[in-house]
Subunit: 345 residues, 2 copies
């Protein structure tokens, strides 16, 4: 049997290049001999935009469709107006490839620093909706730049979009030992979207009697993230709330240097895309200071998505073991962490 | 000289009644002899709604306008559909009385429990916009309850609304020792509203060269709330981000039992309203377990708003001293905490 992975790589900006190199190093190390890995790099991001004005031309969007998956480093640079690359490249990919599951596991690994006293036992996963909510780009501005300006942002929520992510979250919760799913929204204020989310959640819940369910307003959820994070198992939430909560989750589980994510289209109609939660961190770019662990854990999510469960678990175990042995003394370089993990897998 | 305060009191639901009683006790204790305090209680909230179907009838809204200020306990009960009392009473008051400044100070008092290791030095205030953003009730639902449902929520932002809250925040920052103001938004995704906020902020900043400024995306802000909260002095942000961030702020500074807030109309056109950040906590209502400190600190904000600075500071100092002496042994009742603070002021 001969197997292969045809991977698109978008290193992007800032530390993106460095961390992606380590992700590929570990991917190469963990894959069995018989799996043929092909990678193709796409030059997209701030430099490309400065050079050509392109964020994501149609030809490249088409070409990207043909890969099995995408590994992305980080997008964004202060030299580019805010929103241009986010909306023109990163979100464009998530929307064009219908990445409706934005999967973000949060685990407090042994021996990692957390700002929380008492080191609670944290191991939950956020299933963030990826193609709707306030991220759709609906909205506009009237009389822009005048004292009479009105700017709107429209959160769009469909039964179609909400149900598919809620179902996915119930499936994930049912497959985990604790079998608990929490819906996070703000249905006491955002009543239209809130009711759609809550009603869909309650209806699907009836099909999963083995899953215990819970509802929290997003503001209350942030409290529990710091006072009682161990109460969470799987969380399902909207695109914007998920964005906010997963940065907070990363912070309490040792920082965004460790937080992985997958932008997943479970139907397989388009390639899924895996990326660290962190940004391009231009302040430390090129200095070998970036922690590539988040990218390497994103490679594990990528492998699991493609059916390489054993290899995914090997990466996760390697990270766990590596973190347990980090002594907090001399910081290792990006390269050294990548090497250490490549050896371990 | 004879002075007077004509106060409207809305105890509301759950623990609202209990904590408001303590707030009034301390208010009575701190006020100088020559100040005549008149209070009028309004029966609004879940019980009233169950009895009559009313949330906030016009006659009461009119009557409330004539008071100098409003003290509110908490609104909400699980027996009332989510959104009914929030939108029909609490938010109705904030919008009808144009409470465009939602002021929420966050301070880690000595000797209070924080979930953060290392007990950082936290002392910042969030100036949350109170009359716009996703809270306006704009939006709707089409084909409700069918598989083809579309639900929208519209965030409305005006130059008028953004500029007045931004100016207020710059004034507050300029009056504080550290003179630092951070704008929190998500202008890389919510580009229309984000640009309005950022452009307004930058324009007003030019008038306050003594204030140092900073911008953070809301997701990144949550990280700093737990890893580096001491970096914040004054934060200005939109209605929804402010809602989320102030619950998180309360959690890291000892819990929502201590978090005070003021819904302020600085023009004086309508009465301002003061309330604890916490909710009605029906699970502990009527048991004397609620901490009235958040309400008592809200009374301090109320006094400062009405020009009683000395008395406001006396309450805040009393809380500080009281917290410093709490021994974490036997928990005191709601009443005991109120008594202790009434004696101290
Ligand atoms: C860069 C930005 C557009 C993005 C988002 O808001 O989704 C990021 O914060 C993330 O969480 O992946
Ligand atoms: C009860 C709810 C409507 C309210 C809000 O969202 O503003 C509350 O969370 C608050 O922060 O005062």
């Amino acid at each position: 049997m001969s197997r292969s992975i045809d991977l698109a790589v978008i290193p992007g900006d800032g530390i993106g290049q460095e961390v992606v190199a380590q992700g590929l190093k570990v991917l190469n190390a963990v894959l069995p001999q018989d799996v043929k890995l092909e990678t193709k790099e796409y030059d997209l991001g701030a430099q490309r935009w400065h050079r050509t004005g392109d964020t994501l031309p149609d030809a490249e969007l088409e070409a990207l469709k043909n890969h099995d998956a995408i590994l992305l480093g980080a997008i964004g640079d202060p030299s580019v107006p805010s929103g241009v690359l986010e909306r023109g490249l990163l979100l464009k990919l998530r929307f064009a490839f219908d990445h409706f599951i934005n999967l973000r596991p949060s685990k407090l690994f042994p021996n990692t620093a957390t700002p929380l006293a008492g080191r609670p036992d944290i191991d939950f996963v956020v299933v963030r909706e990826g193609t709707e909510g306030p991220y759709t780009g609906n909205g506009g501005s009237l009389r822009t730049g005048t004292p009479a300006e009105v700017a709107t942002e429209v959160s769009v929520n469909t039964a179609y979009g909400v149900e598919r992510v809620v179902r996915d979250a119930f499936e994930r919760a049912a497959a985990r030992p604790r079998k608990k799913l929490t819906l996070v929204h703000k249905n006491n204020v955002l009543v239209y979207a809130g009711h759609l989310w809550k009603n869909t959640f309650d209806r699907v819940a009836a099909e999963y009697p083995q899953v215990s369910t819970d509802y929290l307003h997003v503001d209350a959820a942030t409290i529990f993230f710091v006072t009682q994070p161990e109460r969470f198992d799987v969380i399902v939430t909207d695109n914007l709330f998920g964005d906010i909560l997963t940065d907070l989750a990363a912070a309490v589980t040792g920082g965004i240097g460790l937080a992985a994510s997958g932008n997943i289209n479970p139907t397989g109609a388009f390639p899924s895309m895996f990326e660290p939660v962190h940004g391009s961190a231009p302040d430390i770019a090129g200095q070998g200071k970036a922690d590539p662990t988040a990218t390497i854990l994103s490679v594990a999510l990528l492998l699991r998505h493609l059916g390489y469960d054993t290899e995914a678990t090997r990466i996760e175990d390697a990270v766990s073991a590596d973190l347990a042995e980090r002594d907090g003394g001399t910081a290792r370089t990006t390269d050294e962490i990548g090497d250490a993990l490549a050896v371990r897998v």
